[in-house]
Symmetry: D2
Subunit: 325 residues, 4 copies
C-alpha cells in the first residue's frame, strides 16, 4: 500500500505507526520504500492516530476494533484486519472468539450494491485475500443459479500472505522448490467469510471446502473454485453470467476464451483475472481466479475503497497491468 | 531414471536410444549425468533395442505399442507412456484416438493385488504422475466406503512434467513467480486413468473433477483430493483405513498427525507423503499427497516395478529420503 | 515499457509493430497487458512506423539502424538495441561485425553532461542492461581516481534478459533451483559498452573482466563490481564521491550504510540501488548495484530518455518503489 | 548428511544430539527424514556423545573444540564447524576471537597430499562450503604459476547456507525473486580459510576479494573466481593444469569445453563441476565452480572424509549425479 501511495495523486502517506517498531526509520524495515526511508515509525495508539483524514489499520484480530472506537466518526477508517468483516456474531465467536465488534461496509465494490454502500462511508472492512478471489470467482454463478451451493476451493498462495514474522517453515530454504498444504479440513479463518459472501450471492446456505496451499513465490493467489452444475447449465450460460457481472468492472477481467489466469499477470496490480470451464463428465463448473494478495487482496483494495469513500475516481492510483514477466 | 540407475546395484544403464538426438553424446543433452557423459545416443527403432534384458520406453502415445510388439516376450518392457495404462478401448479412443493396443499390468504395486501381478511380469505400464498421487490419495477411502465416489482434485505440479520441449509459456521468465491452471474442465488426459483406478477401488462408477496447476518449481506434485463423506465417517475411521492400507508400504507414508506433505520432502525420492483431514462443515474428506513426478511419478516407479518383475527386493536402488531443504 | 505507458500521463501506446507476430492481438502474446488486449500487431517496416511522434525500437543488432534511417528527423527514435551505443567503429566491427551505423546520444542521463545531450534529442541509444548497472556502479570511483582502471564484474541476471525465444536451457525446469555462468572469458557483447563508458569516466584505458550469471528469477540484475584501490582511498572518500555523483539523482540511490541492494527492491521500478565497501586486505573497492533489467535496464530508461527529449519532467510515469516483497 | 547415511552401506545413523531440541523426535524437526522419524534427539554434551565410533559435529565456532577434547582419541571426530580449519592462531584470533584450539587434518582430499593425511585420521576438519568451491577452482592455476596471487571471487549461494534459524531477511517472501550481496568488503569469515588454502597452493602470499551473494534457491554455490594471468598463460595451458589436477578425481569434474557448471547438476551430489576460460582482453583466468553447499560443501564431504579415515572406499554412499532438472 505504501508503494501505491507513492504514486497516488490525491492521497499522501503522512505517517506510519506500529508498536514494536516505533522509533525506527521506515527505511530500515522496508528498504524498498525509498521515498519514505526517513519516515520515523510512531506509536500506534488511538491518540497518536488522531488527526489524519484516513487511517488504514492492519492489525491482529481484536485490535482494530478497539482503536477504531476511539477515532472520530469523520475519519475514514479502512480496516485490513478481520474485525469487521463478518456479519454474524456467532460466526465471529466460533472462528475468532470473544464478542463481535460489529460489521462495517464490506470493501468489495464489485459485489452488487456494494459500491453504493462504500461511497461516502467512513468505516470500511477490507476483505481477506482468499475471500476476495473466491467470492469474485463464484458469486455470479451462484447468483444466477448455475451451480449448487456446494463449493470446493483449493487456493495456491505466495508466502507473503503469512507476513513478516520469521517462522522456520516460511524460510526461503523451506519454501523454495516446495508446495505444501496448510489449514486443511475447513479450519482456515477465511472460510466463514467466503461462506457469508457466497451465501449472500446464492440467497441460500452454502458449504465451502477450502484448502489453502503454499507455493514458492512471494505474491499472488490462484484460486481454483468449483461447484456442481445445476440442470441446464452450459458453458455459454456460464460465460454470459460472468460477462454480465464484470463487463464494466475496471479491475475484474474475464479473460478471452482459451486464456487462463496467471498470478504473474496481476503482480503488483489491483486486477483480478478470471476464467471458467464447464466439465460435463464431472458435472462441475470450474472457475479460476488470480489476484495479488497484497494489492487487490489487501493494500490495493484499501485504496480502491478509500477512493470510493472519498469521492475520488475509483481507479485513481491503482495499476491494472501486472509486472510480468 | 538414469540418475537412479547410477546407484542401482543390479541394473546397469547399457544404452540410450532416441531419434532426434541419435549420434550425440548423453553429456551434451543431460550434462548432470556425468558417469554417462560419453554414452552415444543410438537410434530408437525396435531392432536397435533388441538385446537388452530390460527396455524402458518413454515415448509419445501410440509409439511404444508399436515398438514393444517387435521386442521379445522375454524382454522386460517397462512403458512410461500412456499406451497400455487404460483397460477400456472406448476410453482410449475418446482420449487418445485410434485403436487401443491393450492394457499391461499396471505399475502401482501399492494397490491391492497389484504387487502379485507385477512379480515376474515382462510388460508393465507405469502410471501417469498425476494418477499415481491421486489414486494413492483416495483409493483407501473409496475402497472402505468412507466417501462418495464424487471426487474433486486440484493438483500443483512442477514444470518438469511438461518435458524438455521448449515452449514460450514454460520459459523460466514466465513460470517463476507465477501459478497458473491448465487443462481445466476435465480435459487432461490423465483424467480417465484416475477414473479407472478409483472406480476399481470403489467398486462402482466414479466422477473426477481434475484441475492441474503449474507452480514455480522444477519437480513435484501436490495433489489436494476430496470427496463427500458418507454417513458416519469420522477422522479416526479415515485414519485407520489409510494406516491399514499403507502401514507396511515402503514408499507410501501417512505422516504423523499435524504434519502435512511438502513436495520438498520427496524430492528425488520414490516416496509418497500423505495426510488427511475430515471437514465436518463442508462434509468432505480431504487427502493431500506429495510425490516427485520424475521419481515415484515416473522413473522411480519404473525401477520399483522392474525390481518386482526381476525378483529383486522391491526397494533396491530407490531412495526414501528427499533432498530437502 | 507497455506496462509503464499504461500509467504515463503524456505518452500513449498508439501502435505495436512486429514481423512474425503481425496480425495477432497483443492480448494473445502478452496477456497481462489487459488495456491493450485488442491492439492488433502491425508490420514493422519503416513505412508502417511513420506517423508516430515517438518510435521505440527493440530489434536484433543491425536492424534498427536500417529502419531509423527511413524515419523523419523530427520523429523521436529511441533504440533499445545495440546499433548506436558504441562510438568506436572498430569496436563495433569486432563485437557485432560489419559497418557501424554511427553512435547516438547515449541514454544514461546520470552520467556527467549526458542529460544536456538528451534534452531535445531526436535519436537516443538506450544502454544495455548490464552496462547501465556497471557504469553507474563504477563511474564515480573511476572519475575521482579512487580506483585503478582494472575492473572485475560478476553480474547475476534474471532470465527475462534472454527474451521470449524458447530455448531448452531457459526452460523453467532448467533455471529454477539453479545458477549458472555464461559468456565467460570476456565474450559477452555488453563488454565493449562497459569499457567505453568506464574509460570515459576514468579518462584513460580501462579493462573489464565481465562474467554474467543466470539466477532463478524473472527480472533483475545484481552487479558486483570491484577495482583495486589507489593509494589513499578509504571508505569515507569513496562514499563522498558517490554521494556527490548521485545525491540529486531521482533514480540512483546510494543506500544508507549497512544496507545492501536487493533486486526485489527495484522490481518494476526505474531505480538503481547502490552500496559500496572498501576491502583493505584485498585492496579493492567493491560496489554492488541492483536494477530491474526490463525497467531502468531497458523500458524505463527509454521512457526516462523520451521524457527528457520531449521536455517533460524526467520522472514522469516512472515508479521509484519496487514491488517488494 | 542424514539423508546420505540412510543409503550408506557401512555407516549407520545411531543417534542425534542437540541442545535446544533434545527430547523431540527427529521427525518433528526434519519431516523428510522418514526412516529416522522416531529417533529421539538427545543432549549434546560430551558424555552423551561417548560410545560412538564416529561423531560428526556441526556447532557454532568455539563449541566443537570443547566437546572434542573430551572424546576418546579412538573416536573419529569429524567437525563441520570452523574450530580446526585455520592453521594460524593469529588468523583465528582476528576472525573468530579468543584462543585457537589448533588445526586438524583438513578434509579436502582433492588437495595434493591431503588424501594421505586423512587416511586413518581420527580428527578431521571439514572445509567451509565457500572455501571448498574456491579452493578447488583456483588451486591448480596458482600451483602451476598460471595466475598472479591476486584473486577476486563472487559466489552465489542458496539460502540453506544460513541454516534454519528464522531471520526476517531469509523468509521466502524476501528471498524469492531477489538477489542480494552480503558480507561485502572482505568481512566474511570464510575469507581467511580461502587465503590459507590458496597461499598453500601458490607457495606465496595471496589476496582474496570475496563477495558472497544470496540467490533464490535452497541449495548450491556457484563461485566465479578469477585472477590475473601470468605471462605466457593461455587456455590450453590452463586446461592442461586442471586435467592433470583432477583427471582421476571421482568428485571433481572439469566439464567438456563449451559446458558451464550449473548448481542443479550437483544438487544432492558430492560433485564439484568446474569450467574455465581465459580472457585475453582483461588478462584474467576465470574459473567457475558449482557445488551443493550441503553435500560436497558439508555433509557429503564429512562422509567422504569418514570413508577415508575408516579405510572404506572413498566414494561409498556418495552420489555423483545431481537431482536435475
Amino acid at each position: 500500500m505504501c508503494r501505491l501511495l507513492a504514486g497516488h495523486p490525491n492521497l499522501r502517506l503522512a505517517g506510519v505507526h506500529a508498536n514494536s517498531s516505533a522509533g525506527r526509520r521506515l527505511g530500515e524495515l522496508q528498504p524498498h520504500l525509498l521515498p519514505y526511508a526517513d519516515l520515523e515509525v510512531q506509536p500506534s495508539d488511538a491518540a497518536a492516530l488522531s488527526g489524519y483524514d484516513v487511517v488504514v489499520l492492519a492489525l491482529p484480530h481484536g485490535e482494530s476494533a478497539a482503536i477504531a472506537a476511539q477515532l472520530s466518526d469523520d475519519t475514514l477508517v479502512v480496516d485490513c484486519g478481520a474485525d469487521h468483516r463478518l456479519n454474524d456474531p456467532a460466526a465471529w465467536a466460533r472462528w475468532y472468539g470473544g464478542e463481535h465488534a460489529g460489521s462495517w461496509p464490506y470493501g468489495l465494490p464489485e459485489l452488487p450494491g456494494q459500491r453504493e454502500q462504500l461511497a461516502g462511508a467512513r468505516r470500511i472492512a477490507v476483505p481477506g485475500c482468499y475471500p476476495t478471489s473466491v467470492t469474485l470467482a463464484l458469486a455470479p454463478a451462484l447468483a444466477a443459479g448455475l451451480v449448487e451451493p456446494d463449493v470446493v476451493v483449493v487456493a495456491a498462495s505466495g508466502t507473503s500472505g503469512a507476513g513478516k514474522s520469521a517462522k522456520p517453515h516460511l524460510l526461503g530454504s523451506e519454501v523454495m522448490g516446495s508446495v505444501s498444504a496448510y489449514g486443511v479440513g475447513g479450519v482456515h479463518r477465511h472460510t466463514p467469510e467466503m461462506v457469508q459472501n457466497l451465501a449472500q450471492a446464492a440467497g441460500r446456505e452454502v458449504t465451502v471446502s477450502f484448502t489453502p496451499t503454499l507455493v514458492p513465490m512471494s505474491r499472488g493467489i490462484l484460486a481454483t473454485c468449483s461447484a456442481p452444475l445445476t440442470a441446464g447449465t452450459d458453458a455459454a450460460a456460464a460465460r454470459a453470467a460472468y460477462e454480465k457481472a464484470y463487463g464494466d468492472e475496471p479491475f475484474v477481467h474475464l479473460l478471452p476464451e482459451g486464456q487462463w489466469p496467471t498470478t504473474a499477470q496481476v503482480l503488483g496490480a489491483n486486477t483480478v483475472a478470471l476464467q471458467l470451464a464447464v466439465d460435463p463428465d464431472a458435472g462441475r463448473l470450474v472457475v479460476v481466479a488470480a489476484v495479488d494478495n497484497l494489492t487487490k487482496g489487501t493494500g490495493g483494495a484499501a485504496i480502491q475503497c478509500a477512493n470510493l469513500a472519498l469521492g475520488l475516481p475509483e481507479t485513481t492510483g491503482l495499476p491494472v497491468v501486472g509486472v510480468a514477466p
